[in-house]
Structure formats: C-alpha cells, structure tokens
Symmetry: C2
C-alpha cells in the first residue's frame, strides 16, 4: 500500500474510464517489456471490458480476499495474466505491489507467467492451459448454487465472471463445460469472450468458421454481442446478463493489443513484448505520459472505489453471518471439518468386514464406504461421467442436483470426463465441498488436463476410477488401462490408491478424505476381490503406502510386491511357493507408492526386504524397477489388452500365481 | 462364405427392408446374449438406419475391403459393435463368419468388444472411447479431399459415414472435430446421430439440454432430423446430405433396443444382454422365428446386393486406374514410398551440421529437417494446433489446406489438440499420407485419448511436441512438462524421441519416417542446444535408442545418462569430473528408451556399463530407476516447475553440471 501512496499526480485531473483502462494497458505493456516475455495483446484488448467489470460490478474486498461471498473472477485466457496483475494492483490487493509487477515472470514472484492459484491473493484458479478457466468456473458457479441451497441468499449470493479467449472456446473442454452450465441453468455464470478474431497462427478464420453466439445459444446460454471498447455497452450487457435466468456469454468485440498503434489487431501482439519504440508510440496514442509502472494518484483513487464498495458489502455480509443461526455450520463447512463419528464408523466398517471376510469388487467396496461417509457428512458432493452404476458413486438417499433444485448432492456430469474434472476443481476451490467423481480409469486420458491442475493447485478432489485393468474383461483394449497407473504416479502432488480389498478400500478413502491439500485417485476393480487382511488394525496400514501383508514364518527367500487385484495373486503364489517348494515368500501390498515414498528409509527397507523381489501388477512395468531392483522380475502387461472374459485374459497375459511362482523360483534358485 | 450358403429359408419369401434390419437386430441380441456381455440397445435402435445406409448408399466391396475408393464407414458409437459385425456378416465380408459372430467378445475373435482396427476387414478405425470415431472420420473425410485434389474425381470420390451416439456428441473432442469439419466444408462427411435420448445413467436430460441441431448448424453443418425407423425418410435425408456442400448431421430419432418389447426405450438395453425371455419376446414382436445366428437365404440374398453393387463400382474404378497416367504415382503414394534421395539428403544434412557444429533448438532443427523432407516427398501433411511458429512445423512453400483449395499440405488445426490427433489418425488410416502435427509437449494431456489410439492401431502419426521441459522458461508450471515423458514412455507401441542436438533430431525424424507401423513423438526443446556429435556416422546411432556419446580414455568410473537438453549438461559434468577429479565418466545419450529396449542384452549392458550411473533429465524420475539401478542417482524434477527464465530454473531445480558432478562424485567415492 505504501508504494501506491508514493505515486503522485502532477496536477488535479479528471479521471475518465478510458484513463482507468489505460492504466491497465500501460502496466501490461510495461510488465511484459520488462520481463522481456509475456502476452501484452490480450490485456490491452480487454482492458476496457475488465475496467467496466471491476469498477461497476465485481464484488471483492482486496483486504479480505477470501471473503466467502465475494464474486469469483476467472481469467480463463491465462496468458493475459498481466491483465489480472494490473487490476489487482489497481484495486489494491495488498500483496500485489508495483514491485511485483516489475518482477513479472521472475522466480518467486507472485506475478507468474500465468495466474497461479496460491501465488497471489484473488487468483481464484490456475489458468493457462486453454479452456480450463471457463470449465473450472462452471464448477464455481455450481458451488455457489449448492451453497446457496444450503445457506440461503443471506450468506451466499454472488457471481462468477470469466474472461475467455478464442482458444478457450475452441478447446473441446469448453463444449463439455457450457453444455453442463446451460443444462443446470447456472445463471450466475457470466462469460466475457475476448472476441478479437486473432489466435496465435493469425486470424481465427484460418481454423474456425463457428458461430459462437449460436453455439452458446444452443447450449442454453443467454448471449449478447457488444463493442468491447464501448464502456456503456459493456455495462449494459453485464447488467442484463446478471438478470438472466441462464448463464451468459457476452461477445466483446475487441482489438488485440489495442493502443499499440502499429501492432494492434495483429497476432504479433499476442505473445511477445511490443518493444520500446512501439511502447513509446502507444504512450502517445493513449495519452499516457507517465513513466513505466507509474499510475497517477487520481487514477488510483478512482480504482480504490472498487475496494470501498466491496469492503462495504463484506461488512454487511459479516453482520448477516453473525446474526445467522447457521454461522457455526457455515464456518465448519468452509473448514471442511469431518465429524469424529465418521472415522469411528469407518473403523467399525473395517472391523466388520475383516470379520466377515467380505468379498466384493473394490468399486463395490467404495460404494459401501461412501454409504457410510455420505450419511455422516454432507461435505461430499458425488457424481460420475455417465457411469453411475458402473463406478458405483451414488449412495442411498443422495438426490440429483438439477437446475430447479440445487439441494441434492449427486451430479450427473454427462459423458464429459474433462468437464467433470474441471468442474470438481471449481467445486473444491469455491470451498466447503469435497467433490468426488467417477469414470473408468482408462478415461483418465480424457480428464488429464484438469486432473493435472487439481494436483498443481493442491485441491482435494477425489477421482473414483473403476474398471482398472484387463480385469474388466470383454470391453477390450480401448477400455483396459495399461499405462494409466504410471501416468498418474508420475504426476506430482497426486496420491494414487489401488486397494486390494474392501478393508484397504476403506482405508484409502479415509486417507483421501483427510488429505485436504491434494487430489486423490482411487483405482478400483470391476471384478470381485477377496478380503485379504488377516485381522483388524485401528492404525490403518494403508497410510504407510505399502506394508507387509504376509510375512513367512522363516526368513524371506523372496518378496512379492503387488497392488489391487494382483495382491490376491501374490498371496496365492506365496502359498504355493511355501507348500510346493518350501520357499518363504513375503507379500507386500502397495496401495499407494506416493505414501510409501514419504516413509523413512528404514521403514521402506524393512518392507522391501533384502531378498529378491517379484512385482505383480496388471499394468505396464514403467516405474516398478525402482522396487524390484536390477535383479527382480515383473509380472504384468507388455502391450495393450484384449477383448475376452477377465479370467482368460489373466491367463493369456500370464498374470497368474503360477507365473509369479515360476518367476520367484528362478530368482531364488 | 461357405457358412452363409448353409442357411436355408423354408419357403420363398418376400424380403422387406424391415426383414433385413431385423436380421441385424436378431444377430445383435443373439451375439450379446451368447457372450453374456455387450451392448444390444444401440444395434437394435440403429438397425433401420444402418440398413438404409448399407443397402442404398454405402460403396464397399467386401471381397476387396481395402479398395482405396471405398466409402468409409465409422461406428463412432463403438459399443454397438455387434451392429457392425452383423452388417459385415450380412454383406459378406469373407472374414466375418457366423462362427465369428458366435465368438463375440472371446479371446482372439475378430468380433472384439469394440471394433478393433486390424481385427476384421472393413473396420476402418478402432472405436469405443467416445467421440474418437467421429473425430477420426473428420480426418478421413479430409484425406479424401486431399487425395482428390491430387488425383481427381476419377480416382478419389467417396464419402465418409459415421454413426455417432449421444456420448460421442457430448465429449469435448466432438466440438473440436465438427468445428474443423465445418470450417473446411468437408461435404463428404455424413454423421448419422443415434438420437435415442438415452445414455448410461438414464434419459439424456439428466445431464444435457443442448440443441444439437443448432449446435451443428453453428459449426457449419447441414442438419436434418428424421424418424430413424422410417426407411424412406432416412433414405431421403442421406440422399440430400450427399448433395450438400457442407458436412451433414442427420438426427435419426430412434428407440434404443427397438424390438425388445419390455425393455426398448430404456437404458437397461444399453450395456447388458436382454436375457432369454426378452429375446424370445423380441423374436415374436419382430416376427423373426429363426434360430439364433440363422438368417434365411432370401434375406442374405438381398443383403448380397450391397457387395454386387460395390463390386461393380470397384471394377469400374480399377479400369479407370489402369487407364490413368497417375496409376503408378497413386500406388506408390498408397505404399508411402519415400525416395532414396530423401535419405541421402538427410545423410548430407547430418554431415553438414556435424561439420558446422550447428547450435539450434531441437524444434528449430526439426524445422530444418522438415525443410529437407517436405521438399523431397509430398506424403507429409503438416500442421499444428495453433502453435505453428512455436512448433516450427511449417516449411517454405507449404500452402495452407483450405475449404476452397485442398491442394495445400499444411493444416491449421486450431486450438484443438485432441481433434488434431484424431484427425491425424484419420489421415493415416485413410492411406497415402504421413501426418505430423505440433503442439507443446504439456498439451499431450489434451490429446491423450487419440494418441493412445494411434498407438493401439499402429498408425504412423508423428507428433511434434516442443517446449519440452522447464527449459521453456517463463510460461511456468502449467506449460512445463514433468510427467509427460513417463506418460508417453509408458504407452505401448509408441516411440518417444528426445534428441539432444540437430544431428540426433535428424536421425529421429528419419526413424519416425521409416517406421510405418507405429506413431512417434518427437520431444523437442524451445532453447538452443549445442551440436554434441563428434563426427559424422552414416549409421545413425539414434536407431539404437541409446548409445555412448562420450567414452573416457580410461575405464569408466561412472556413466552419465541423459536425454535431450540434458545431454549437454552430462557432457559438461563429464568434462569437469575428468578435469577436476580425474574421474572417468562416460556420457550416454538416450533419445529413445523404446528403441534401446529392442536391442540385445549385450548391447544394452555395453552401453549402460557396470560403473555407477547418474541419470539427468528435466522431468520426473519415474522409469529412470530401470537404468540407474538401485545405487544410482537421478538429477531431475521432484515436483512442478515454476515461472522464470530457463537458466534460472535449471539452477533453481538443481539440474546442472555441478549437481551431476557432485552426484557422480558421491557414487564413485
């Protein structure tokens, strides 16, 4: 704030909207120039629209950036990050100083190349990969309605605004997102499309002839088309959009790089600094004589009205919260507090099924666990990408979320894996929700873009991915994951769980529920799996990532490592080795490599042992060499799967107790 | 064919269209019932539409299934595979016998759970993952126009027909595909939408309210809406669509499971056998008294007219080919013959740049190689997902492909990575084209679904993926690949190349061009890399996947393994180790793990050596343990990247010659 006060205006001036927008333009072109890297075209093109949005509508309080009832602003066209940083500086977010603008794109700066969630306050989500912002915003707008249905207009009543570019709207994920938004009539979602007819290769008509307005209308949006440099027209459009009973698209016709006299309107302004000469010429054209990063006080004063308006709104809201009988529940929800009764119930659940030796598919086990969880907390919001009865993600009494009634807790995401994952990111970011959603593991391929962002942002999103191997059988190689476990394990900050039975499934769910700072993937079988745990333990061993499930009576001759459905095979192999050959084999279940890697070296050594090791997993080998070592063996898949009943496939691909036994014998020999 | 003749009709019968369609229905429900697995609803619902398409329009010759000028039929709703198998049996594809229908979904059958390319003739592409078929078909329809522009109507004049379901149209990839198809006015593309208002969770209105006709109109399609059980209406619609100057969508309103009296219209018919009782009731309703898998000869006779008509057309076409001066070129194109001059030129290119010690980014090297390649063959069709001047995929003289002129060779795929990959699959499957397309490596996330199908189908599609690490710098973690190399290496039947300099880049391109039976990914740097090869070799060592780039003068103390931009770091570390510590370090460049794994164990041992090993790669560790062994070290990324200039990031994340030197010293000590 100090720095802002240092800016001086040489004489009193009348501040126009144009001046306010030009402050954004100047900061953007200066920031990019100084970094010698970045994207000036979009911020300069959308400066006018953003100025209208922020000064006349956006409900934020920069001094309390996490105020729950703030409007959400999502810069889906994340390459235009200087637009957001400039706006944040101008409205006075305390952490967005002029110094930060000068450090644009430098190591450790809040002003990263693309807006990074957590780097600076007010950045509601990480954007950059195109289409993610608009799709995440759909989840935010949905979360607003879900929270509104619980807590009412008094406590939850805000909008989600998105600035999206042509790239966002060309990406397939945008189709999934807007179809879902239109279906659910998320009328608090307002998308401002930077319709500048330019993409990186040149004019958008090199690659598209789409009628976007007609397309959004088809998806159930209210659409408008305005001159994005006409302040009053933009204001009227946003005002109308706020009144619509549908989500809105406002096509803002703009000139990319507006203000750069020789380059505006060209793709040349998209992704490179304008250069000193062009910036000087722009300063002339914009009548902006001020030095780089300097904004006259009078202009800053007018910008500070945003914070004043927002602060006032926040104080009124806080008073309502204090007066509300729901205040404590509201706060507890935001903290995502799970009741002790839930964990006690899960402990009882595990005890019960150890005793009963329940044999079910782990997807079924997951459903049973969810039956317990969803009864004892309403933080969980479930859903599936049109595979509800395959993923087994709905539990008794869960009502559907629908356009006319947001009091339900189950979302039919449609055949939209990518859109689902992004929407779940939005639900999680909005707060007070633990979203989980299902699809087949193989279709993590379709959701990768958004799953990566769950991990990068450290959001508690739980992916329920069933049909996890050739064990799904007849649907064949297009449906049988091979490389997907490796792909997920390779992703930083993502916990992958592949439980072997109902008890491990319950443990993995519990860990996923407790772990608020990162996403989890539960990788679950279609086929039934026996209960393998020998007795109940209150300290769930799955939290260690891997543990010895069977230790032989004598010193180990060999250690068999496995996950999920292959742990059963390992146990069978161990028994055969002992019975037929007197070979002492330990069995290690490894439900989560990530958690195992977090244990002490001593623990890891004790689990893996010093005897030769055989790993068994119905997936590709990549990654396993770390655990089997140079002299170990791997029993798994060497290529794609096939269409046949599951037991035949296991035999055909040689993933059997016999094969494990044989491999172990060769190593021990 | 023999089996077909065994079918007998008890008495002469008048065969109606309905009878012909009911043959499809009966075979589909019987096939699924026998397999006790599969999807009867879609084949029964679309039997009438498919019967009209096959009997009145589709130009195929089952005796010559690969006839180049055949129409392409793509079952995008691949779960309805029994529809395709039944049709193939009825029209007399020799390899689709009744026995195969009875072996539906069994190991080794041609009748896999979903249509698998290469399993049976006439299957033009693998489908199952929703949206892939329609998007691949866009590539096929585009390939038809490209070939037509080269060879004229005499030799290339056919349609691409697609049957797509609600799932295909909800998936995001469909948006990318239809936008591209509409833009390029691919009027030979006709999509028949199985508009049955049912998806797996139930009625489609659980999750969508989209106006599909308006949506396709917005994308530039001609659209029609017909009763899918009205043969004449369907015929009129297809006839009109064939005349349109735009791609077509025909909404065929159907009843899922049509013919099953108690289940039709319900999602219950989607993915499970109908059961014996319902099948018996369906036989009554359909007036189909014949035993399972039996089709009366009179009905088969009428179905055989498809082959007669197609055979006649093929013979006329063959005569035209024989008479054409282009015949030899046409055949050579189909064989994808690359001229010797091309490989000679690449050899000369490598020699030249070894001598010059050319220092360029490998993306730039790729552009230079393409300059040579594209001049000497016109099999290559290039493109990029709106990153042309970043991926450097266009070369001098390449004209854009456009709706008004298909004689060009460069495709602006738009901001549509997934659609691009699927379209490239279609280009490759159609034949006579080696498609390559560019995006940033991190956006392989967006293209995964279709890339996996390139690999599963063994199609020669070349992915040019640049900006391959934190070396891209300021764009930050959303743009910096970490897990992507592991993800791609984990994918079966895909060759991943990460060359270290211009010479290796040329070698990798050459391998990718020669390798007709699988896709390749060229993983290329944004930043400049020095030429590291010490001398020219006519036998390009990159074909071995990994090779010793620097062997110390004395026995190795340590071996440094690296790929791409990190090979330079390994070389610097080796020099420092020798100079400062007298440690003899070998440097191994590993441009392709897959090719290295194909070498003999002896070769692999000789490359890796017995000394301790340090691997250096600016990516995640997953997979590297295989090469570094239990006592080796890894220098790379442990989490996501950051936004800063590239050299700073390398220092910040400790991927430096100093770090490699230190790790090596610790191992040798």
């Amino acid at each position: 704030m100090q720095e802002r006060a240092l800016k001086t205006s040489p004489e009193p001036m009348e501040v126009s909207d144009r001046d306010m927008a030009n402050a954004v333009r100047a900061l953007a072109m200066d920031g990019v120039q100084r970094a010698n890297s970045g994207h000036p075209g979009m911020p300069m093109g959308m400066a006018d629209v953003a100025t209208v949005l922020f000064t006349r509508f956006l409900k934020i309080d920069p001094a309390h950036p996490d105020w729950p009832d703030r409007d959400r602003f999502v810069l889906s066209a994340g390459h235009g990050s200087m637009l957001q940083y400039a706006l944040h500086y101008l409205v006075g977010y305390p952490d967005m100083t002029a110094e930060e603008l000068k450090r644009f794109r430098q190591l450790g700066a809040r002003t990263a190349g693309h807006p990074e969630y957590g780097h600076a306050s007010g950045i509601e989500t990480t954007t950059g990969p195109l289409g993610q912002g608009i799709s995440t915003a759909v989840g935010m707008a949905l979360a607003e309605r879900l929270a509104n249905a619980r807590f009412g207009d008094e406590l939850v009543d805000h909008y989600t605004y998105v600035i999206a570019g042509d790239g966002c709207l060309q990406e397939g994920i945008s189709h999934e997102a807007i179809d879902l938004a239109g279906h659910l009539r998320l009328s608090r979602l307002i998308v401002l499309w930077d319709n500048n007819s330019i993409s990186i290769d040149g004019p958008t008509n090199l690659s598209t002839s789409l009628d976007q307005l007609a397309r959004f209308t088809a998806a159930g949006f209210d659409v408008q088309d305005v001159d994005g440099h006409d302040f009053e027209a933009v204001e009227r459009a946003i005002a109308r959009a706020r009144q619509s009973d549908r989500p809105s698209l406002i096509s803002c016709r703009t000139v990319i790089g507006k203000g750069a006299p020789n380059l505006q309107g060209s793709e040349k302004t998209h992704g490179a600094p304008l250069g000193e000469a062009e910036i000087a010429a722009a300063r002339e054209l914009l009548q902006w004589p001020h030095a780089p990063f300097e904004v006259p006080e009078a202009i800053l004063d007018r910008w500070s009205e945003v914070a004043n308006r927002g602060g006032e709104a926040r104080r009124r809201w806080s008073a309502r919260l204090e007066a509300s009988p729901e205040a404590e529940v509201f706060r507890r929800t935001l903290r995502k507090e799970l009741p002790d009764t839930l964990f006690e119930a899960l402990d009882a659940f595990r005890r019960e099924h150890v005793e009963k030796a329940t044999k079910v598919a782990t997807r079924k086990a997951s459903e049973m666990v969810l039956g317990v969880v969803n009864n004892l907390t309403d933080l969980t919001i479930g859903g599936s990408a049109d595979l509800t009865h395959s993923n087994l993600t709905v539990t008794k009494g869960m009502e559907d979320v629908a356009a006319k009634d947001f009091s339900g807790r189950y979302i039919h995401y449609g055949i939209r894996e990518h859109g689902m994952a992004a929407a779940m990111n939005g639900l999680a970011l909005h707060g007070g929700i633990i979203p989980y959603g299902g699809t087949f593991l193989v279709f993590s391929d379709y959701a990768r873009g958004a799953m990566r962002l769950s991990a990068l942002m450290g959001q508690q999103v739980i992916y329920v991915m069933t049909h996890d191997s050739i064990g799904l059988g007849e649907d064949g190689p297009t449906h049988q994951p091979i490389e997907h476990l490796a792909m997920l394990r390779a992703t930083p900050n993502l916990t992958v769980f592949r439980p072997c039975d109902i008890v491990e499934t319950a443990e993995c769910w519990e860990i996923a529920l407790r772990q608020q700072d990162r996403p989890s993937v539960l990788v679950l079988s279609r086929q039934n799996l026996p209960m393998l745990r020998l007795g109940h333990s209150s300290t769930a061993p799955a939290v260690l990532g891997a543990y010895v499930l069977r230790e032989p009576g004598t010193a180990r001759d060999v250690t068999l490592l496995a996950t999920g459905s292959e742990v059963e095979i390992a146990c069978a192999a161990a028994e055969r080795l002992q019975a037929d050959h007197g070979i002492a084999a330990a069995v290690v279940s490894m439900p989560s490599w990530e958690l195992f890697e977090e244990q002490t070296p001593e623990y890891r050594r004790s689990v893996l042992g010093t005897a030769p090791r055989v790993a068994i997993e119905a997936a590709c080998r990549l990654g396993w060499d770390r655990y089997i070592g140079e002299n170990g063996a791997f029993i798994g898949m060497n290529g794609f799967g096939a269409s046949a009943p599951a037991p035949e496939l296991y035999r055909h691909f040689g993933i059997t107790a016999e094969a494990a036994e044989e491999a172990a014998r060769r190593l021990v020999r």
